[in-house]
């Protein structure tokens, strides 16, 4: 079927983020989603390409069929028609058990290996800014089979090295020594996977399987490779760019605005 794509100007950046994130879900997968864009993405995916995927919220609901979009994962709206409404012990246990295929995450800063900081800017012991902290970000990112990050594209956010590794990328600290090693080495037999995509307001990035380094995959319509390079603070590999990110279709936009978030909670 011919896809009826929207043109730049007919959609907002946040719409493209939701749509690009939704396309990361494979049908039948079990998905852990946090508040905001991840909710839009998985709910859109369930209404389009991944109708048999399962949605788990960190606060303890499994496969809810919300009639109204929850404003946070603790929301009463999460529970409607859920298979199970339990708690953190249940859902984090399933995560550690290896039952979660995909997790959506965000962060204040990301480095070239996909390490993410949501804790502090500056020295942890004497920070310049104290952010909310890890939440379940590092748990999901260390125990789900795959994670997708949604980030704001700015030089100060795409850094060679983050101030604090809240959430582990492809080159991480191996404790108790603390040396930087590949994720595979650090996690050993219980390695399951890791960050598979970073979706920003300008582009989609992925990671080299050998080196763990981030590379540019696609650039959103209306942006250039140079725009991206100007907003990254490390040597970004742009040799593998596939072209433009697939824009939202009119059908996807209709579902987002009329079925997923008609009240305008995350899509103003």
């Amino acid at each position: 079927m011919e896809k009826n794509y929207a043109k730049p100007g007919e959609y907002k950046v946040i719409d493209l983020l939701a749509v690009a994130a939704a396309r990361e879900v494979n049908d039948g997968e079990v998905v852990f989603a946090g508040t905001g864009l991840p909710m839009l993405a998985i709910m859109l995916a369930q209404k389009t390409t991944a109708p048999n995927s399962y949605l788990i919220y960190e606060a303890g609901t499994i496969d809810g069929k919300s009639l109204h979009l929850p404003a946070s994962v603790g929301d009463a709206r999460c529970v409607y028609q859920a298979a199970v409404a339990s708690g953190l012990y249940d859902v984090f246990g399933q995560l550690q058990r290896g039952r979660i295929d995909l997790g959506y995450l965000g962060g204040a800063e990301i480095d070239m290996y996909g390490n993410v900081n949501t804790t502090v800017i500056g020295d942890y012991t004497k920070p310049q800014i104290r952010f909310p902290g890890s939440g379940g970000n590092p748990d999901i990112n260390s125990m789900a089979r795959r994670t997708v990050f949604i980030m704001v594209q700015e030089k100060r956010r795409f850094r060679e090295k983050v101030d604090y590794i809240t959430s582990p990328g492809w080159r991480v600290r191996k404790w108790p020594g603390g040396q930087m090693v590949s994720r595979q080495e650090a996690f050993g037999k219980t390695f399951r996977g890791g960050p598979s995509a970073v979706i920003s307001n300008m582009a989609v990035f992925r990671f080299d399987e050998e080196t763990g380094l981030m590379y540019l995959d696609t650039v959103h319509p209306g942006y250039t490779v140079n725009d991206v390079l100007n907003n990254v603070d490390f040597q970004l590999d742009v040799s593998r760019v596939k072209g433009e990110t697939e824009p939202p279709t009119h059908e996807e936009l209709h579902i987002l605005y009329h079925e997923v978030d008609p009240e305008g909670i995350f899509l103003p």
């Binding site: 404003a71 953190l88 890890s134 970000n137 809240t166 108790p176």
Partner: protein, 323 residues
């Protein structure tokens, strides 16, 4: 019987310096009536140990009640992107933070509930959460055994001796002196019923030495015992009971009321500075004698607009977004 007390008496059971934990999740089902009264009674040097924090935690921090914040997250979800008071107090060196991950905090509370000193996990390997340089309770010489509820180390690493799967993280049990939980219903003797998501309430209640249950309503035990599978805590684990309708406001409560988003956003916006916090607290905490007066100040109309529909379990009429 005889467990019924007032909010004021409940706070009287909390000692300065106590390690304390709460029910709920971020901006849902927090025991706010008690939080306000803790601030009113000017409790000091509290050691918050929480699976996650939220509006209530940031309020206690802003009021100067907190010495240590040990958790994984603080903020107000959609209504304030970070814990503004914790941010300020940490920058000024007035509060000690000890960060674990969400699953680690949950497991710590579960270990406390199980009566074991520590528990192994794979969660959050590879991160600075495990960096010994960032063990803040050690840096402040608080792991010297003088407080028996503070573990000697932040984390340890142990080889799996059974399946040889690798090096696990051992996290120490959380052992709070007291848990204050806000729930929908409690029996006259203390049987606890929670509707909707249970969050980490069961672990938090069972880990604590003392438990105070604040409920929207106290109901006959006989009523709760018609469906025992719906209950999570038996009476002998509960030390005191408080009945306080709307007692979680401005946080939300499944089946009872919405999060009061504008109220939380207003708190966040006005309390980024200490002067701002003090003025806000003067208006909403010190300026009213008790929680009933606070509810009167909020007014019938505002509360009614938050009230949950009994079929949906939330308000289907509250205006939430831009459309």
């Amino acid at each position: 019987m005889g467990k019924r007390i007032t909010v004021q008496e409940a706070v009287g059971m909390i000692n300065d310096g106590d390690m304390i934990t709460f029910s709920g999740f971020t901006i849902w089902r927090r025991p706010m009536a008690v939080i306000y009264e803790i601030i009113r009674q000017r409790k000091q040097n509290l050691h918050l140990i929480e699976v996650n924090s939220g509006t209530h935690g940031d309020m206690l921090v802003g009021a100067g009640c907190v010495k240590v914040w040990e958790s994984c997250w603080i903020g107000h979800e959609l209504f304030g992107k970070l814990g503004g008071n914790l941010d300020r107090k940490v920058r000024n060196g007035e509060v000690i933070t000890e960060d674990y991950s969400h699953h680690q905090m949950l497991l710590r509370m579960a270990a406390g509930a199980l009566g074991i000193p520590y528990i192994p996990t794979w969660a959050s390997r590879g991160t600075d959460i495990l960096n010994p340089e960032y063990d803040m309770l050690s840096k402040h010489a608080m792991r010297d055994g003088s407080n028996p509820n503070i573990p000697r180390q932040k984390a340890q690493w142990v080889e799996d001796p059974f399946f040889e799967e690798g090096t696990l993280i051992h996290v120490p049990a959380a052992r709070p002196n007291i848990c204050i939980a806000h729930v929908q219903q409690v029996g006259e003797d203390g049987t606890v019923r929670v509707w909707g998501q249970k969050y980490a309430d069961e672990e938090a209640i069972k880990a604590a030495d003392k438990v105070i249950i604040v409920a929207e309503e106290v109901v006959p035990e006989e009523y709760l015992r018609r469906e025992p599978s719906q209950n999570i805590i038996p009476p002998y684990l509960v030390d005191a009971i408080v009945q306080q309708p709307w007692g979680a406001h401005p946080t939300g409560n499944f089946g009872c009321y919405e999060v009061d988003g504008p109220f939380v956003r207003d708190f966040y916006n006005k309390t980024r500075t200490q002067e701002g916090f003090d003025a806000w607290a003067e208006e909403w905490i010190f300026g009213v004698p008790d929680f009933d007066a606070y509810l009167e100040k909020l007014g019938y109309k505002r509360l009614q607009s938050l009230k949950a529909n009994s079929a949906y379990k939330y308000s289907n009429e509250a205006k939430r977004g831009s459309r």
